[in-house]
């Protein structure tokens, strides 16, 4: 049994320090997974609208978050 599982069993669920840290970690994991999945969908030819529909957000939101050009040393 690793330390994390022990932590889960011993942790007081009402301790905000642990609970909030878990929320932050989960949000961070969600961001990483979202980036991976959006990239994968785009690579498979999905439109921003199709991606947004499954994510349950607006096309503008997903475009703004994921569509920035990232050329080395060029552009903004």
């Amino acid at each position: 049994m690793n330390d994390g599982v022990k932590l889960a069993q011993e942790a007081s669920s009402q301790d905000p320090a642990i609970g909030l840290r878990a929320v932050r970690a989960l949000r961070h994991l969600t961001d990483r997974l979202e980036a991976l999945q959006v990239g994968n969908a785009r690579g498979l030819g999905w439109s921003w609208q199709e991606i947004a529909a499954v994510l349950g957000v607006s096309r503008q939101a997903v475009h703004k978050k994921h569509a920035r050009g990232r050329l080395l040393g060029k552009g903004k």
Binding site: D3, G39, L72
Partner: protein
């Protein structure tokens, strides 16, 4: 001529490797610290040599930078996730099975954008070369640009002073090495 066309090989490689450093550390943009680590690991050129003379090497700098706040969310918090029943190792295994090694921790996007301070430092490296009347920008000029960029937002300067290096002395060393290279 765009700025990058003036870059000599060592400076060009440093810029490319700075991006790899940012990616390795899980940071979301290239900052002055990544340029500094990349310079330290460059091997050849006045910039790398100046850092060596002041006892700075890439792995030690990387350790200092690894958990610096403000450079991106950093590593995933496995303990915190476990506290709500998520086994990060399992998630990572599943993601890597589909998207390849490192996909969860480093992301698939190869490119990270340059942060404002890193851009500023590179622009200043051009000014440093011009001030020394050099037509091309080498690793030494990149180091001078890093040292010139304003202190309050320049994480590389913080890392250097934390490591006990006097920026003015480092500047003097870099200038001397650049001049002897150009002679």
């Amino acid at each position: 001529m765009t700025m990058f066309e003036r870059f000599q090989r060592d400076a060009r490689q440093t810029v490319v490797r700075a991006q790899e450093e940012a990616r390795r550390l899980g940071h979301d943009r290239i900052d002055t610290v990544h340029l500094l680590i990349a310079l330290a690991g460059q091997g050849d050129g006045a910039g790398a040599q100046a850092l060596r003379e002041h006892g700075l090497e890439a792995e030690a700098l990387r350790e200092r930078v690894r958990l610096m706040p403000g450079l991106g969310a950093g590593p995933l918090d496995g303990d915190a996730l476990a506290s709500i029943g998520i086994d990060l190792d399992e998630v990572r295994r599943a993601v890597e099975a589909n998207f390849g090694s490192g996909a969860l921790d480093q992301g698939r996007a190869k490119h990270r954008p340059f942060g404002a301070q890193a851009k500023k430092a590179l622009e200043l490296s051009l000014r440093e070369a011009i001030a020394l009347k050099h037509r091309h920008i080498g690793g030494g000029h990149v180091l001078l640009g890093l040292l010139r960029a304003s202190g309050s937002d320049n994480a590389a300067l913080r890392v250097l002073t934390d490591a006990g290096v006097d920026p003015a002395e480092l500047r003097a060393t870099a200038t001397r090495l650049i001049r002897s290279d150009a002679a």
